[in-house]
Symmetry: C2
Subunit: 485 residues, 2 copies
């Protein structure tokens, strides 16, 4: 019986030749997420949402260990609240989706669909925080935010709705607030490394690139395969900006009223887009094992005589393996094994097991690794152990490759023309000393359309005694310049 299920044509674009087209193809064909009729807003299908749930759980457990509690605040924010912090509203106003009507009535005051929750949360914080004993107050929420970007949306990488965590903490002293930075950035880095198999460059944003309302912003930055830098998880030191706008005061131990010091931080579903971009290849997705809803796909191979035996063996194997891995048997007989190989490669399943009549007789199966494309025979008795260690090995291999790619994309440049060449040509980070002036920062922007991605924390020492790559004055920072996604 013919099955009408749409045959995927496979990926025709080459990642190394046309990243954008390749990315759109892997997204469209892989059943990870899908477009909807709302431009810039995605449907997360089971594979995609599963990966996000794993990231959520892992991040949440680590945040919770440091004493952070989860909360939930309203989706809709009254306009007057959003207007309370001037820099903040200036930053978000152009992108806010406004509710103006309910049913058939016009609202007296517009309500913003949250683009971020500082304003609605801090109004409550100002009621809840009274004394130094209420501090630190460290809350987090997992939700979705809407920012009506007018740039061309790209699934996961730039959308009008995305899912994220937003941490919002308040401290009695500036020092305590600042100490939280390393804790949180380390958590994000470890989730990226241990789950998404992604490295990143941790650094401070320049003042012109910091969060609307923050005193200083820190980010983890990635490089996409086309050489563009893309901002990952972020951490903002908000100082007393919001506490002064929202009146978040407390009585200190000496009985004096002070304003709290605040931080905010986030990791979003954009990371899934980075993950697909970095690990994927010309056959489709390559999902790191920990994020894969299906880690092992078993394909029974048979002619009609052996069908029953082979499918039974495949199911037995699946049962045995399921204690150690998430396994699925594809016994759909409308498709050939070759078609199925193709399909599950496209969807990025880390390991494929092929089992046929001859394999069963030889007490072995064929095991295929999605990341390297290598096949090997494995004795059935060794399979569980082998799969367990293979999943670990695949994760390591993906991370190592991603790290190698990242490193090869960091270019120490020595003069301005070299810097321009990297940003406008080769791509990747142009690492160079910078005087810290916005004039030089602006010049790079107008000359190259690139910008300072961030100032990596671990190389700041190198700025000493160096000259700014733009103006030749004394350098204050080492900065990563790049074209930006």
């Amino acid at each position: 019986m013919a099955d009408e299920r749409k045959k995927e044509d496979g990926i025709t674009a080459k990642k190394e030749e046309n990243f954008s087209e390749w990315y759109i193809q892997i997204i469209s064909k892989s059943e990870f997420v899908d477009y909807t009729s709302v431009s810039g807003c995605l449907a997360f299908r089971p594979d995609g949402y599963f990966a996000w749930e794993i990231i959520q759980k892992a991040t949440n457990a680590l945040l919770s260990e440091t004493g952070i509690n989860n909360v939930y605040f309203p989706l809709l924010i009254p306009e007057k609240l959003l207007n309370k912090e001037k820099e903040h509203i200036k930053g978000f106003n152009p992108e806010v989706a406004w509710v103006t009507q309910t049913g058939n009535s016009k609202l007296d005051e517009r309500l913003a669909v949250r683009p971020t929750s500082e304003t609605i949360m801090y109004e409550s914080y100002s009621k809840w925080i009274r004394s130094w004993r209420d501090l630190p107050l460290r809350y987090n929420q997992w939700n979705s935010v809407v920012r009506w970007e007018f740039k061309h949306p790209t699934p996961l990488l730039r959308g009008r709705e995305f899912l994220w965590n937003e941490g919002h903490t308040a401290f009695a002293t500036k020092e305590e607030a600042e100490n939280e930075k390393d804790t949180i950035l380390k958590i994000y880095l470890s989730v990226l490394k241990d789950y998404l198999a992604l490295p990143g460059i941790m650094g401070r944003k320049t003042d012109s690139e910091k969060f609307a309302g923050a005193e200083a912003s820190y980010s983890i930055e990635h490089i996409l395969p086309d050489g563009a830098a893309i901002q990952g998880p972020i951490f903002h030191l908000d100082g007393q900006n919001f506490s002064k706008s929202f009146g978040i005061k407390f009585l200190n131990k000496e009985g004096k009223t002070e304003y709290v010091y605040q931080n905010t931080f986030a990791i979003s579903t954009r990371e899934l887009g980075v993950m697909l971009s970095v690990h994927g290849d010309n056959k489709g997705l390559v999902i790191p094992p920990k994020l894969a809803r299906i880690q092992v796909i078993i394909i029974p191979i048979y002619n009609n005589d052996a069908k029953e035996l082979v499918i039974k063996s495949a199911n037995d194997l699946s049962k045995k393996l399921s204690a150690k891995a998430r396994v699925f048997v594809d016994d759909n007989d409308s498709y050939s094994p070759g078609w199925k190989f193709h399909e599950w490669e496209l969807r990025g399943v880390p390991i494929r097991i092929e089992i046929g009549e001859r394999d069963i007789k030889a007490d072995k199966v064929v095991v295929y690794r999605r990341d390297t494309g290598k096949k090997q025979d494995v004795k059935i008795g060794d399979l569980t152990k082998e799969i367990e260690s293979l999943l670990e090995e695949i994760h390591q291999n993906l991370y190592n490759n991603a790290l190698k790619q990242l490193k090869s994309n960091i270019h120490q440049v020595h003069d301005y023309s070299e810097l321009k060449k990297i940003i406008t040509g080769t791509g990747g980070f142009a690492e160079a000393p910078w005087c810290g002036s916005s004039k030089c920062e602006e010049k790079v922007k107008s000359d190259t359309k690139g910008k300072i991605s961030n100032m990596p924390l671990d190389i700041q020492e190198k700025a000493k005694g160096k000259k700014c790559i733009v103006c030749g004055e004394e350098a204050k920072h080492m900065a990563n310049f790049a074209k930006s996604y």
Copy 2:
């Protein structure tokens, strides 16, 4: 040093005399949730959100065991999609919050903030489902929905934004779809019983009360302390209503095109409101142990000499107990032990441990149960075991009491005047035979302002040979009539 933290005045209203006032007081004073400046939209504080997370996890694990996968769909739904199923839009239109502007631009088409996700999901289902092999397709999402009710909002019980799961499944046959009903309702009942310590009445809604777009709706109904019925978790058999509107078709095994059969189901944060209402008392909240973020509060009692010793012992105890329970030591010395007893009772912590110098010498502590108010001495060596079994006992006790309350609120009525007396007076369910006509249903509504809560599944046999309590014609159903929240 004086501490400015606001002293709670305690609960002055009596639950048995003025439920509404009592409910507002326990909500306002207990730090479970809080009002925000958006009317009808709440902030879930750590205690409240923790309870919801436990309900989510428990429900999710059970849904997942039956093969349901989680997904996520956009928050904003284009107006034309919402209009596709006529009954559906008629039901929701008056309550929709509309996004009409983004930034400073007017949108060409209004976007609804999702009141429920049928329409946006089913557009995708129509692309994803092609063959009988794609069925059943059983997806679920956890999100928040906005329904701009114009009735007076009450925290958790009736709001303009609430959190829920929405299950949306599609089957090849009507029979399979109908079989899902018992599976899902059983899951909801077990979560209510095992986590919220709540019973409920499972039954079918009348046609006039069913979901907008469904063929039949089933609910679990509760009774609030004031005798009003309130609808809990729901399950809808949608038949082919939506699949025909959205073109969700598949090729069956015979190669013919058919429309799928669909179901939807949900449990929401309203259950937290029911839980607080049913278990709470005139001292404040009583949180069932499994939902309590803090299960055991330890209050050290000391004069200045013994302070160090007692606090150390309290902390040691906390460490020891933390393997079996969620424990917190309240060592804030701005407040007296009496004040703290009061505070933690208000917040509904299931168990309090009092430890003083004399207790330490006698190698025991005082253990107080929030549900019964009983105190007992417990040897420190027995404490871990005792706490573990007490938490279980408290849960059982809360459930048993709730069940007793529910049962005492079911009144078999034998004539129409008795029925009216229950609905307009005593409260609770008036269980009576009904002919099934909307005319009789309407008469009850206009005479009493009450309605049919549902038709309990387990008592339908009783209708045989009975006469309708309204018109005296042959009865087809047993129905629970009640004033409705």
